[in-house]
Symmetry: C2
Subunit: 330 residues, 2 copies
């Protein structure tokens, strides 16, 4: 067993062990090791998003394995690229951890990144990063994508008459979060090593909370189908639908029976479907003329409602109050 | 006086005040507000680098104003883009701060970013970001650049016979750091509000440590002049020259008289020139045929030595031991 810490081996040795675990990427012209990387942007544009995960606010080391953290950091960024209709080409990763962290934990993190990329966005590479130290784990990922000549699908394009669909799951991550919180409370605040893993083995909601698989390939497919507006559901269906409604100056009218059918199929509560975030489903509006498939790029498509003239989000005609997640007031 | 904290006003109001302070950018197609941004990459490639500043390891709130932090975060990233020979097009900024932070401090941060960009890379925009909370200030910037059809200048291109030059200052930031540390020790560990500002007013080295002006426009100019290898001196001349030497399989032979003349001109010690980082000068190797100018894009150029067959870094023929900065062992 290799119990060396970062402080034991130093930065060069950490990089020597960390970098080879990461995928190179099909679009990479100059990878890690120089002042900057160079990445192909074949159509003369690139899509970019950034997302940070901080210990405490966004992650708990008694819940997530290092593999989970790498996977989840990839998922949340890849989902935002997909939500524009783009194909992810590359990531850069800044990672700061305590000096006492084991080198093998960083290797597991790199493997989680690599496995997440392989599962969600094969061909995407890690082209650079920044390793540092912090008292609490800090993960900042920036992701890039290629629109392949197509227009980006914004939040603002929904039109009255469009159908409102979700691709992927809703409410499972929040349900899993609830179970992890309950188990932690029962354990006196902190889970024992291995406990989260055992919970996840028996419970898909916990698995999805710890290592969500975003329907990344569905993003460009939905764009090609004519998606008029799209976003990654990271804060909950009601809140994220309200963003589409506001940006599009339209109403998103959700159908209660469809929401309940999805909740039943996924084994979660209606409230979880409406307000749970972080499954990283894609919320998309599609023109009425389209024959809706049941799956897009392997992920389930569920019709949830329709775009109407008006504003806000309704459920069976009644306004739905979005439950905001405000990091400054949480 | 507006003493509202982030927790008082919430995320939407913070964004409403923060975003308008940031430059849009000439290359921006879709800016902040959607899942991701879209940026022009006219020659079908983009350059990307990421750099994180963490309270404690990289920044101190008793030294740096919020304006300084924004400026410095821009400078360190823009310098890495310039060191590839590219023109910066855009940045994304992830910022996590305590909830008790004043909204006006975030406004000062945005103004520092904007002012740093205006001074170093006019036309560059802030296209996205991520605001969150953390016990200690966390700033993760990712920057993008455009090579305008030229080859990237890597660390690996130095050839025997090339001249070794620095563009910008060396050793001033480290000298300023030393003075801030001394003043802090004298003050019992922490500087009083306003003390760092007063030190900086009288001392260019302190100013450069807190808010360095990287010679960003010199990067593409040096590339166009035929620069064979280039990097941003972030860890000190000796260590960064050793990186060029290793990547290029060559020796960087520094001239003691030239180093001493530069030290005298800048009013710092030889050791500071050799081993001080964070001025963000560009270290460049240029073919012997070039008539060296005294300035490049407004920044002073100093010839410091020559590339020879061999390995490592020498000063007047004697090996120079690079003094490593290892974040995991510091």
């Amino acid at each position: 067993m290799d119990d060396a810490t970062l402080a034991d081996v130093g930065e060069l040795e950490v990089l020597r062990r960390f970098l080879p675990l990461l995928p190179t990427g099909d679009a990479t012209l100059v990878g890690p090791g120089d002042d900057a990387a160079v990445v192909r942007a074949p159509d003369g544009r690139f899509v970019v998003t950034t997302d940070t995960m901080l210990e405490g606010a966004d992650l708990r080391l008694d819940w997530s394995s290092w593999h989970d953290l790498g996977w989840k950091a990839a998922a949340s960024n890849l989902a935002d690229i997909a939500a524009m209709g783009a194909v992810p080409t590359s990531l850069v990763v800044a990672l700061a951890v305590p000096r006492a962290t084991l080198v093998r934990d960083l290797e597991r993190f790199a493997e989680g990144l690599a496995d997440g990329i392989a599962a969600m966005a094969p061909g995407c590479g890690v082209v650079g990063g920044d390793l540092g130290t912090a008292e609490r784990v800090t993960i900042a990922v920036t992701a890039f994508g290629d629109l392949r000549g197509a227009d980006a699908v914004l939040r603002s394009g929904a039109r009255a008459g469009d159908r409102v669909c979700a691709v992927g799951t809703l409410g499972m991550s929040a349900t899993g979060l609830g179970r992890l919180l309950a188990a932690s409370a029962e354990a006196g605040g902190t889970l024992e090593p291995g406990a989260a893993e055992r919970l996840a083995a028996d419970d898909a909601t916990v698995r999805i909370h710890l290592a969500p698989t975003a329907p990344v390939a569905a993003g460009p497919a939905l764009a090609a189908m004519g998606g008029t507006a799209m976003l990654d559901v990271s804060d909950g269906l009601a809140l994220d639908a309200a963003r589409v409604a506001r940006a599009s100056a339209a109403r998103i009218a959700l159908d209660g029976a469809a929401v309940d059918a999805l909740a039943a199929r996924l084994g979660v509560a209606r409230d979880a479907v409406l307000h749970g975030g972080e499954d990283h489903a894609l919320l998309v509006t599609l023109p009425p003329s389209i024959d809706l498939p049941t799956e897009v790029a392997g992920a389930p498509l569920t019709e949830l409602g329709v775009v109407e003239a008006g504003e806000g989000v309704t459920l069976d005609g009644a306004p739905v109050e979005p439950r905001g997640w405000d990091p400054y007031r949480a």
